[in-house]
Symmetry: C2
């Protein structure tokens, strides 16, 4: 159905009609000038992300449902990165004429799936039009008790540096999708060129054969067997609220924390800058999945570079007092890895390679405005 049939308010009604507010803090959702919330006993956390078509996502290999899910998870991840609980979401989208009502419903299905997973209420937003491409802006609101909030600036000398899960897989998933896309379009271009030549030569039989071949190519689904994990990490990332739960159960409170969206290098530098400290991180300790390592080798890329600078992992990077070392030891099997420790600032921010060389950590991660 064309969106113009419904108009702005009709579309909003359709997308939000089945939303039931679940949080006590959500007093009033979609339908007025503002949403209304209630936070008498906790601090309010807010975060906002903007995603632009062609820069942050490519609809040739991301479905609208996956996009909705991922856009929501990216913001949820920022609330977890403060040790908070996500509660509400405000969703603004600008769409051009390519999109129809069904497409927007799919986007909302993805959004709602992510929100339902963490019991979040969609309480408002803006739905408008764009001349060129899809633009998405999400604001997530959460809460935390004042003493529970973890900032980036609390890391202290001797603190242990930890990460959850594994790194670099989302980046390798992106490389894989980009390669398949390139191959796909090259094949279609080739066939179209051959069709033109056959037409010129008046070879109707060849034209027919090539067209059939083209249709098959267009329908072709690449075989990603054995690499499902890489695609899932890229297309359907998960925010690590489960890790916060694990830390609480083990009485561990991080001294500094953030989520890994731009890449481990970039995030380590943020924590060290804001905490006015240095760090030593050991290459051998950086958690990397088997599929990531295999794919990096196939692409002839350095897997540590991918893990340090890839980004979009949405894992948690955090520091804990060295006194919690024993508590942490039991958690390695549950997905928390110690990768190094915090130092005095004058010792710099260092990566120690497998052959015991020291390298300065530099941010080569995702930076949309870097030339």
């Amino acid at each position: 159905m064309e969106i113009s049939k419904l108009g702005e308010f009709g579309l909003i009604d359709r997308l939000t009609k089945d939303i039931q507010l679940k949080n006590n803090s959500s007093l009033y959702g979609v339908g007025d000038d503002c949403a209304v919330m209630h936070y008498p006993d906790t601090e309010v956390l807010t975060t906002s992300d903007m995603l632009m078509e062609g820069v942050h996502f490519d609809l040739t290999y991301v479905s609208l449902m996956q996009l909705g899910y991922k856009a929501a998870m990216e913001n949820i991840s920022d609330i977890f990165a403060m040790n908070g609980t996500p509660r509400q979401m405000i969703v603004s989208i600008a769409i051009d004429k390519r999109f129809n009502v069904e497409g927007m419903e799919q986007f909302y299905t993805g959004l709602k799936k992510a929100c339902d997973k963490w019991n979040i209420d969609i309480v408002g937003g803006d739905t408008t039009s764009s001349l060129t491409g899809l633009a998405i802006s999400i604001t997530c609101i959460g809460d935390a008790k004042k003493d529970d909030i973890v900032y980036r600036n609390g890391a202290k000398e001797t603190d242990l540096i930890c990460v959850s899960g594994d790194l670099g897989a989302a980046y390798m998933g992106l490389q894989l999708l980009e390669r398949e896309k390139t191959v796909y379009y090259q094949q279609l271009d080739d066939i179209n060129r051959k069709i033109s030549e056959a037409k010129k030569a008046g070879n109707d039989a060849l034209v027919k054969h090539l067209r059939e071949q083209g249709a098959k190519t267009a329908d072709f689904q690449p075989d990603f067997a054995g690499r499902e994990y890489l695609l899932e990490r890229q297309l359907q990332p998960e925010a690590r609220g489960d890790i916060l739960q694990l830390l609480r159960e083990n009485n561990i409170k991080p001294t500094a924390m953030m989520d890994i969206s731009d890449g481990l290098s970039s995030e380590l530098l943020h924590i060290c800058k804001q905490s006015q400290c240095g760090c030593r991180v050991y290459e051998k300790n950086i958690p990397i999945d088997y599929q990531t390592a295999v794919q990096a080798e196939e692409f002839n890329m350095n897997v540590t570079t991918c893990a340090m600078n890839g980004g979009e992992d949405y894992e948690l990077l955090f520091t804990v007092p060295i006194g919690d070392h024993d508590k942490l030891n039991g958690l390695e099997s549950k997905g928390i890895r110690q990768i190094g420790y915090i130092t005095k600032p004058e010792l710099g921010t260092k990566l120690i390679s497998r052959d015991n060389q020291e390298f300065d950590i530099t941010a080569q991660g995702w930076n949309p405005l870097k030339g």
Copy 2:
């Protein structure tokens, strides 16, 4: 300076380095995964708007400073429309390669001017890149005591319908700017066509003369004398927090309220639908500025249609109990006009013309997704 010289974090540092948090509710601003706020005694209000280049604004006649100011005011206006006090703002922008550091500083100067006017803290956001055009998403956070919040759904039969200020001027300002833009480009196109012809004819003297004429045309500033108010209303709208203050001083609490962004007709229908009531609004009572009326006549447009459907006025539309009639009478000179009253729903939503005819009110206002 090119933005790529600073990168994302360098640009954010530069734009936000002089921000001092002024509200007690603002605990932590720009620089971590989330902003942190504190609202123990009041309800939290949030609103979000997305503005896309070519749809919501045209940089050929809006400066980046004006755009920042207006984008902020539009969101501030939504907090006022709930009878709330704006406190924090989260600003996300996506920019393409046309924009430089100085341009973004101008945009922020406009934003900050609007925020300073209402004592609002910029506490976060996202700064990223776009392939095509500028995209802006602003979330404004405010607060209100629970009993002070005014929704759209509280209007009751016999309530008086009021609006602040005057209507239609922002729309007439837009028409004026659009006309000047059309004339300007027509003149440049004409001259360029004549230059091509003169070149073909080998008439170098004429080419030179036309080029001089073209340069003068390009520099030409249209004369908007006597229409400054219309331009100001379009380019630098003001959110009406002063009207809330006036109502409080006079012990008037609206039963329903919203701001007029899409047009009076559209907003009246929202209030009537959500309050399950009808209305009668009198054409003769709709406040229209002298310049608006003169400009509508020049453009051969019906001024009431402009006032009902123009939009972007950012005035307040609200209903008050009929018992407050006497209190309201004294406020007409201060910019509050009674334009009609609320009826039973079965009486419909009616505009009564100057010659006492009844018309159904229909929403013809701004609707970006209506075909």
